[in-house]
């Protein structure tokens, strides 16, 4: 081993540590031409030629940027965007699904949509091994909720520790293992999407920590079904009722917080918000619907939701379950989104009418179509695809499999197959895909130092699970994740994972142990691990860099002795470099 041989010098100018100001000046140059002055009248700007509002977020097409990666195989695309990255064997299984890309994607999507038919033995074994007290205690939402409430709010936890941290920490650990080990990967990607869409900040309160598993369960139970049903399930969940303050909203003074976000985030989206106009000033579409919403719609909807609460405190049956309080309900007539709600409707009907109006509104279809395409394809999906998906979403708003139809339309589109590198993985995907590609053998346990160590390091990335304080969920646009801290933190944890070992010195992500016996030269080692981690060839320069790192000046065809601890360390460091490389971040 020669330590005097230096790795290749980068060709780029490195004589200064200064962050160059050159590019920012260029970036600012972009600005001036692109700044659009505020539209003088919001309504005029929103009133598109078709009678529907044009988006206030026009989402201009992306700028052509240099150096973007080549489009990889359909399997790589699919498994990096509709799953948390390929684990060993996943790409081969994908390839075996059909004779061409289209049929392979179609078959994979069909399999994943029918998720309950996919056996999931490894996840089950891991969860069993973790032996959680609360997680998975029931698949019936009400039973789960009442049980967790009894244990962690009322102080009757069977293990004697009634801290609300227990259900939160079990939820965190279980979610990591689902991402790492579940074969139902699309289900996990969608659960992540819907948790952001209906975001509740888990550390908002002890009640949020106690009820979060219930929220996750109802999202999972509805995400392959109907959006209107999911919307109502969330509206009735104590997690949302408490987080956005509806649980005490009464006719004495409705609390607007939940309804503000119901319109702006959960359904129509800010692009359909017309501000402080009066309701009668809002133009209508061909079917008489207002094209967007105004503050008065939010206020009126808040009246409709008065009395939607749950059982808590000493004066009720203290179960945490949903409770409609008729005496708190504003019984008088209301007008929301052009829908007239007469006085004294049946219990809960005012709010259900609001949810109907929102779920049926084409603006909701457009908002959800764009968000789903943004997650599954890119920040700037083709408008034609958004239009198609939005129309499907709205046309099928009452169908029991509405959402499955929507996902299928997106995932089998040409744009899905042909888009690559317009976004990078968020930290959850970076670390999740590293653990999957590295076939980590890691059961996350309660009261376990190694598990805590992993989570503590991961939480530096800025995407600590369920910990986005505001109701809009973790950002899902490239611009939000371009900054340095998430990158440095991801580099750090990825480079730490390759050395992560237990008390016996066994590696959780065993690079050396997984390297086949016949793979020993620098060339072979690089090619084996590149195939494992990326599922595709790297750009030539990248491969050369990695081979030179592994060979350290020796002939890259000579076999290396992995029994030598220094060489074994170098192989781990090689895999760490792959996880830290730009190519690993594209999605």
């Amino acid at each position: 081993m020669s330590s005097s041989v230096s790795p290749p010098e980068p060709t780029r100018d490195t004589d200064s540590l200064n962050l160059t100001r050159r590019r920012v000046l260029a970036a600012a140059g972009l600005t001036a031409g692109a700044v659009v002055l505020p539209a003088a009248t919001a309504v005029a700007a929103n009133n598109g030629p078709s009678g529907g509002p044009a988006m206030r977020h026009p989402d201009d097409p992306p700028a052509p940027e240099g150096g973007l990666p080549a489009l990889p195989s359909a399997g790589v695309v699919t498994l990096n965007r509709a799953s948390f990255g390929p684990a060993p064997g996943d790409l081969a299984a994908f390839e075996a699904l059909g004779g061409d890309d289209a049929s392979r994607i179609q078959a994979w999507v069909a399999q994943q949509l029918n998720y309950q038919s996919i056996p999931d033995p490894e996840l089950t074994a891991r969860l069993n091994q973790a032996n959680f007290e609360s997680y998975g205690v029931s698949n019936d939402p009400d039973t789960l909720l009442a049980t967790l409430w009894d244990w962690y709010d009322q102080g009757n936890a069977p293990g004697g520790n009634s801290s609300s941290g227990v259900p939160r920490d079990e939820m965190t650990r279980a979610t990591w293992m689902r991402v790492m080990y579940s074969k139902r990967q699309l289900h996990e990607v969608l659960a992540d999407f819907w948790r952001d869409h209906f975001n509740v900040y888990i550390n908002h309160s002890s009640w949020a920590r106690i009820t979060y598993q219930h929220l996750d369960l109802i999202l999972r139970q509805h995400q392959m079904g109907n959006f209107r049903d999911m919307l109502e399930a969330v509206a009735r969940s104590p997690a949302m009722l408490y987080y956005l303050d509806n649980y005490t909203s009464s006719d004495d003074g409705p609390n607007e917080n939940y309804c503000r976000e119901l319109f702006e985030l959960h359904t129509l989206g800010a692009e359909n918000y017309l501000g402080v106009l009066q309701q009668h000033q809002v133009p209508t579409d061909g079917q008489g619907r207002p094209v967007g919403y105004v503050d008065a719609d939010v206020f009126e909807a808040a009246r409709a939701f008065t009395g939607w609460s749950f059982h808590y405190g000493n004066n009720d049956d203290d179960s945490g379950l949903f409770l409609y309080r008729p005496s708190w309900h504003d019984r008088f007539q209301k007008n929301v989104l052009g829908v007239f709600l007469p006085q004294d409707q049946a219990d809960e009907k005012d709010a259900k009418d609001v949810l109907d109006a929102l779920a049926e509104h084409p603006g909701t279809g457009r908002h959800l179509a764009r968000k789903l395409c943004r997650r599954l394809i890119s920040d700037h999906p083709p408008q034609s695809l958004i239009d198609t998906v939005a129309a499907l979403f709205s046309a099928q708003w009452q169908a029991p499999d509405q959402l499955q139809q929507v996902y299928e339309a997106i995932l089998t589109s040409d744009a899905f197959r042909n888009t690559w590198g317009e976004k990078i993985k968020r930290p959850f995907e970076v670390v999740g895909s590293a653990l999957r590609a590295g076939a980590a053998d890691f059961t996350l346990l309660m009261d376990d130092g190694d598990t805590s160590s992993f989570l503590w390091r991961y939480d530096d990335t800025g995407q600590e699970l369920f910990n986005w304080p505001a109701p809009n969920g973790f950002p899902d646009v490239l611009g939000a994740w371009k900054s340095m801290t998430p990158r440095v933190a991801c580099w750090r944890i990825c480079n730490w994972l390759i050395e992560f070992d237990d008390d016996n010195g066994d590696y959780y992500l065993d690079v050396v142990g997984q390297t086949p016996g016949g793979v020993r030269s620098a060339n072979e080692l690089v090619d084996f691990w590149v195939d494992r981690i990326f599922g595709r060839a790297l750009p030539t320069d990248d491969r050369t860099d990695l081979v030179e790192f592994m060979a350290q000046g020796f002939n890259p065809d000579f076999d290396l002795n992995l029994g030598d601890e220094d060489t074994a360390l170098r192989l781990r460091a090689l895999v760490g470099l792959m996880f830290m490389s730009p190519e690993f971040l594209w999605r």
Binding site: P7, R12, D13, D15, L19, T20, R21, R23, V24, A26, A27, A28, G29, T31, G33, A34, V36, H57, D60, P62, A63, P64, G66, G67, D245, S249, N255, N257, R260, A270, Y273, G275, I424, G462, A470, N472, D476, V477, L478, G479, K482, S483, M484, T485, P486, R487, V488, R492, N495, W496, E499, D541, L546, F549, Q552, L569, R570, A573, G576, P582
Partner: protein, 453 residues
């Protein structure tokens, strides 16, 4: 090495062809005028209840205030009584709280009394929007009504400032996990929570140096990701070189526990590394007080105000040295929020989204006191019949800091569409005529990212 001036000169022909006359004043600004001020933008996310922070303690509006806020009004006497600011205004008592275990030399209220803190009442944005996310983006992008602007106002300030040295090691710092929209599109911004975790001292130590060299090579490419990763590696090198572990605040400053205190401490530490910092951003969330914000001046809002006030006071104290350590003479902190909250409390002893808010400006060159025009709280004086009106456009305050402290008059670039600047008098410094004119870099380059979040 490409220098800043070199770049501007190098592209002058192309830029001049598009932009015409104004270019020369930018490209060949006063070579002697190097500005060393530091502008720190603090954003209170969620919409601070400004009417419980700077509030009427006398006059007819005290009556309107008490009538609208029977449960959550800030008292004028007894525990948590508002701190008199002169005239009819008082400041929340949380601005004068000290940690009894670690008494700091000065509270925020002390700094007000010493003339280092300006409070601008009824400041905000005229846009009629009660959405957090729209309002924050409008403000931070510097383009009320437009969400698709590819760069933030601070990014454009740095890009147009013609009084900075050609090379700056670390001109911009975004404290926190993600980069704020005010710095959107900036590729020279370093974003961090703490210098201690901004390093690559992980992985097998025997191979760390070789790994880092290979990583540089892997990120040596033409995509934005390659360039950004390369810049990140540069930033890591700089910070590892300059953070020799540990930090002791100066002058007995005591930062409050929690992330806000940590973030201000990180910022002070980075300023003292003398890496050339010119702008920085810090966030403090948790102001969306729809429920249970606290009665009689206490509760949640009190503790939140205390944390904010203690962090600001500790930061000022820490930087308030003499000679080369007199950083406060170069620092201007501006605190704002996306909107204020409704005058009338809601039934949950909280407040819903409103309109007019307040701004705070803290620094060694601040003209302390209460500024702005109070619009009144009578029914007919409220915005939309419910909220404090906006009488001072937030851009007016920021523009004054840009001109008088940062020496940057290019308001047309930084706040396009804002053409009515006149100084309010919150800071001292030379006045330059604002330049609203042609866009100096209207050169048809590719547009940047326009995504929303």
């Amino acid at each position: 090495m490409t220098t800043r001036r070199g770049f501007i000169t190098g592209c002058s022909a192309a830029v001049a062809a598009f932009a015409g006359t104004n270019f020369n004043t930018v490209a060949f600004g006063d070579p002697n005028g190097t500005n060393e001020d530091i502008l720190i933008s603090v954003f209170l996310r969620g919409g601070i209840d400004a009417l419980n922070f700077v509030l009427p303690i006398g006059g007819v509006d005290r009556g309107h205030y008490e009538a609208a806020r029977p449960e959550i009004m800030i008292p004028t006497a007894g525990a948590n009584a508002a701190l008199p600011l002169g005239g009819i205004f008082g400041l929340h008592a949380g601005a004068d709280t000290v940690d009894n275990g670690n008494p700091a030399p000065a509270t925020l209220y002390d700094l007000y009394q010493d003339g280092h803190l300006a409070l601008v009442v009824a400041a905000g944005m005229h846009e009629d929007n009660r959405s957090h996310f729209d309002s924050m983006n409008f403000m931070e992008l510097g383009t009320p009504g437009t969400l698709t602007t590819p760069t933030g106002w601070l990014t454009r300030h740095l890009a147009t400032a013609n009084n900075l040295p050609p090379e700056i090691t670390m001109p911009a710092l975004a404290i926190g996990n993600l980069q704020q929209a005010a710095l959107r599109g900036s590729t020279e911004t370093v974003n961090m929570t703490s210098p201690d975790s901004f390093s690559l001292q992980v992985g097998p130590w025997q191979w760390r140096d070789a790994q880092r060299t290979t990583l540089r090579s892997l990120y040596n490419g033409s995509s934005w990701l390659h360039q950004s990763g390369y810049d990140t590696l540069d930033a890591i090198d700089i910070i590892e070189l300059n953070s020799d572990g540990g930090y002791t605040p100066a002058n007995g400053a005591v930062y409050p526990g929690g992330s806000l205190g940590d973030h201000f401490e990180t910022l002070a530490r980075m300023i003292k590394m003398d890496l050339g910092l010119r702008v920085a951003t810090i966030d403090y969330g948790g102001w969306d007080t729809h429920e249970g914000q606290g009665e009689n001046g206490g509760g949640y809002f009190l503790s939140h105000v205390e944390t904010l006030s203690r962090a600001l006071a500790a930061f000022y104290t820490d930087l308030d040295g003499s000679g080369a350590n007199n950083y406060t003479s170069r620092v201007t902190v501006v605190v704002q929020s996306e909107f204020g909250r409704r005058l009338r409390e809601n039934n949950d002893r909280g407040t819903d989204h409103g309109h007019g808010s307040m701004m705070m400006v803290l620094g060694g060159n601040v003209n302390g006191g209460v500024h702005g025009t109070w619009p009144g709280l009578a029914n007919g004086q409220l915005f939309d019949g419910a909220d404090l009106a906006v009488t001072t456009d937030y851009r007016r305050v920021l523009s004054e800091i840009l001109i008088r402290r940062m020496g940057n008059p290019y308001l047309g670039e930084i706040f396009p569409g804002y053409t009515s600047y006149s100084p309010l008098g919150v800071v001292s410094g030379p006045d330059l005529p604002p330049i609203y004119g042609p866009e100096i870099f209207a050169d048809g380059f590719e547009s940047g990212d326009t995504g929303q979040w």
